[in-house]
Symmetry: D2
Subunit: 360 residues, 4 copies
């Protein structure tokens, strides 16, 4: 099941060290202008090797559109995009191909499928997320036409948390996508210390949606918060998802946590813009927690495919903190969820039908 979404649906394919990866985006409305440079710029935000805080694998991540766009506009047919892998044959895997890397999906893929592409994690590699970002860029182009914005950044690294004021413009320029400049240096230092110790750190991304109308989300079983949780928890290394105040809400009282309503709108936004699984018109707020990168350069215990005890010692290049580049993927997934919800919501009242199917 490599497909996400009901109406604005995308399917991804590809392995870390295979020929290519890519996606097919199905359900994009016809007549949307496609800004190819924007799609590439989104991929560039995610691509590795931009600073010492990221893996040094070099990939240009150049995306090519194969279908679905004609004379600069979508035609309503599926949009296939492909990214050829350049870094395909860089390494000899013979010494690790029978070992399971602790904290990785090697063990579970092998037990599920009885076979695995051991080159860099194969399909389970975070490299797959490049395809999500390409699809997400199309979603953003569509949402932009409706006045809906999606933005993200890093609020926490190694337990060092941002303050109240989050600066999304700053995050765009920051090497670690930091939302709070006042803790950025401390956060960077935590990453560097982990690097120097051949270890890794975790962190948290924060995603905000502005301009979303009330009414998005499909009860009971494609609620907006459920869909967001699915999208985020389904990302590699994510272990917790919060909507609005999240865990803190569960430690609040009803009298404090309820967002009271006035004719000018909600007085607060503890709910993170979602009530009963449906958007309420306020900003939609999500926090996503990533575990520390499992790839560390310290000896670990493991077994091989024959269940013999072994020692694992990793070489190579890896993000010391997957949350950093992960935040861009969260942002893309949020856009993809919302694009789907915008389409799913159409036809939920008879007024919609009467507006789009006027009788002659």
């Amino acid at each position: 099941m490599n497909r996400f979404g009901e109406r604005f649906a995308f399917t991804t394919f590809g392995e870390s060290h295979g020929k290519a990866l890519g996606c097919v985006v199905d359900g994009v409305p016809a007549g949307l202008e496609i800004d190819e440079a924007f799609i590439q710029s989104e991929l560039d935000r995610r691509k590795p090797g931009k600073s010492k805080f990221e893996t040094q694998r070099k990939e240009s991540d150049t995306v090519e559109i194969l279908s679905g766009v004609f004379e600069g506009k979508t035609t309503g047919t599926p949009i296939a995009m492909v990214i050829y892998n350049e870094n395909q044959k860089s390494k000899d895997y013979s010494n690790v191909k029978d070992l399971f890397r602790p904290g990785h999906a090697d063990y579970t893929y092998f037990h599920k499928y009885g076979i695995r592409d051991y080159r860099g994690g194969g399909r389970s590699s975070a490299r797959e997320t490049a395809a999500r970002v390409a699809a997400g860029a199309i979603a953003k182009l569509m949402l932009r036409e409706l006045g809906i914005g999606v933005m993200s950044g890093i609020v926490e690294i190694d337990g060092i948390h941002a303050g109240e004021n989050l600066d999304f413009e700053h995050a765009k320029q920051s090497q670690i996508f930091a939302l709070d400049p006042s803790v950025e240096e401390a956060q960077k230092e935590a990453v560097e210390q982990a690097l120097n110790a051949h270890d890794s750190v975790g962190g948290a991304a924060y995603i905000r949606v502005t301009g979303a109308p009330a009414g998005l989300g499909e009860p009971m079983y494609r609620k907006l918060d459920g869909a967001i949780a699915d999208a985020m928890m389904g990302l590699n290394a994510v272990k917790a998802v919060e909507i609005g105040d999240g865990v803190a809400a569960s430690r609040s009282k009803g009298s404090r946590n309820n967002d009271q309503i006035t004719s000018k709108g909600f007085e607060s936004n503890h709910a993170g813009g979602i009530l009963g699984g449906i958007s309420n018109g306020d900003d939609i707020i999500t926090k996503v927690y990533f575990k520390p990168t499992p790839s560390i350069f310290i000896e670990q215990k493991t077994v091989d495919v024959h269940n013999n005890d072994q020692t694992y010692f990793l070489k190579g290049r890896h993000d010391p903190c997957v949350a950093i580049r992960g935040s861009i993927v969260c942002e893309s997934m949020m856009a993809l969820v919302l694009a789907d919800m915008v389409l799913l919501n159409m036809g939920r009242k008879m007024d919609h039908l009467k507006a789009l199917y006027p009788q002659s």
Copy 2:
């Protein structure tokens, strides 16, 4: 979209104060023995009015099976179950029918659909979860045949957290489903204080799965953790979901968080039994955080359907802490997710096909 699951799929219907609610469970394998008393006992665990810690609404929640079972066994056809509402006409809603209750889905349902059943929240009422529990009971019967167990309880109320040792047998008997007897009284007191203050408190449920084989979960877009997060976050009042160590994992180091592997199994279970979205054979662990019940008996600001400022003052009966009965629903949803994953996993390798389709 009132359907959940791909292969072991259920659809629910019904409103809080309508004639009935129920579900249709589709995809249950033929030949499963159906223990009707067990299904009823699961509903009894969730039903209201069992103690002062729950709403005093009286419902027997008697379930009737309409189809799909013949001579005590499933036939492979859909199992419809219905629960008639007894408490259907108990109240006059005329004074609140145009008001939005703060923290509730009234506002969003109205904006989505342009119409709402204002009686007790209508479809958005937590009463809908009775249907989930009925469906979940079927899932549990199936999982039991495969040696898979699902259990739950309360780990936290109003910030008072259980210790390390969780006692699932104790939780079954506890009025608040408490997993740690040593904090149970303090947790109960917190609920009572809120009750007395006409306020409400939040809490957290803990769900453990034992006996699940490695290999469950469908990359990329129906991963086990993503599906669990969807199932849990889609429950009323849930604002955060953790897998394994959750938020704490994001504050750990890779060297500490990785579960090292030996020929006897994993040395720890920070991952909560899931790697790369697929079960690894260890216990599957989830924590689910509920906000305090939005229904409180304190005056709040709101607006009416014409956006006039109004004051809202609730009467009636409500759970002071929705997490308590919510934990049973989490357990049911977990069973439903796993039952689906068990079926989805079939056919993922050619060996499966050759075993089930031997050539004559």
Copy 3:
């Protein structure tokens, strides 16, 4: 998989001799007025025992709405409908419970599920179609609001085919739903002869849709013609489906078969209103061919569940020509397909989105 449709989706449940059968219709837009008498009248058209041309089983087929309708209108939540079986325990099946009836699904259900409800065919009984008709009535109410009409009748029985002029008003009153009064008597006689010979005859239904806008149908894999073919061929006893000229089109020339276009519309309708799987605004025309009822009162060869040779001799009551009542079910399925297509089509162009999501 007991669910049909993507957006206007229904799930049916129930067996021929179980407690009840019914359906849950999901995705109906909010604000649609529900005329319960109309729904019942649709069920009355399909119900058995109205004339000698139908089975003499007595069922009132009284439908009860359990959810989804509030103060006479849909709320956007699922509409559950239930029809309790009255004729539940009428017969002793002990002598046939291990036998497979030739031409029936007994054999295949047993081989698929390893178990079967042998009472009157269980789930495979045509009785299940009552639930389809209930769901179809909701679809018709929705389509009516958009000016789309669906009508049906019988064009052929035992090879006796209607002429060019089809009279849908006549069909409504006809005991055999005959579209051509000039052949009606001959068709009736064919049925009676089969009855007298303890045999059965086949026939064909004709379904016409008027007022459907151009643009319905989802390429590539939920085309309008594909969806219609699926819906019709999936009915018991159907063995062939034609769109427009059907088989005759394949014996025509391109120069004759192409519907030429003028500024006043298409000059002919060989295509049956569908081009490339999408409606062209013309009437949508389908013909559906039913095999003769497999239940005949003549000795036949069969085997039992242990594969021993046996003789089968049926007693009881059966439609001598399933096409007759089947035509009503075809009409319902057509309405259900179109209702789904109407919803699926929303959001296929950016103009739709801009109309329904105006920016403030």
Copy 4:
């Protein structure tokens, strides 16, 4: 909706004159050996320009696998295949870009999407079926492992019908895939006459499945016959689908049409191997009727996008009888339907679960 299948699911993309077309096949079991030469040979059977009976467009239809195969075997991850268009810029479309070709999807695509890729039909071109054939080849490889064979040929052209004896080996060698050598010349002549008259003819394909076990097909709403009808009717130019005796069954009597059962199997196969929507273990038989190619070289009436009356006069190259190459696509679709049904059937009884999930 460019995806077909539930478990063995494929998504296609691409336009007639775009950069490339292709597919992503999702749900293929891991451990299947992939014979790339076989996949290419399947595409070669469908590719144009092999004889005067086909369009003279030249395309090598070389397929490239981008993902999902590792060391010659499937890994359980999605298999992406791409076919680059060589014949991309061959023509000036300026004089026809605003005209609708009679009998084509131009009119309906334009009305649905408000925009269309007018180059050779864009997405609605039969060229899309190359992607289906590539996906179908994977399905065939899987079915072959289970002893299931799929074969096809032409039984009728321009009303000239094959006799009783069908020779599938002959069809493979025949330029028109003729199943009956005794009428092949007459069928060829009919095509040539149409060619010479600048006209086109219709025809019918016949598809047979051998070795399918009893039990395939999912009641009620993914029955085997419904799925086949959907797959076939969804092909360009198809206007009728028959299962088994099809239309002729509706003109038979029950006593003749029922396939009686003995301990050695069914005595006849009027049912075409399907009862109640489930395979009965006999050969599965389908006939698919194609209209004559709408592209003819005779002046026709049409309108332009502004609804002005116009005259249409086609130039270029087209198949004079789309049924011929269409038969290969039918065969591929049949394989895809069956592969899906094989997977869907797994888990339909508890015995399946106990076999694949033995408790330790």
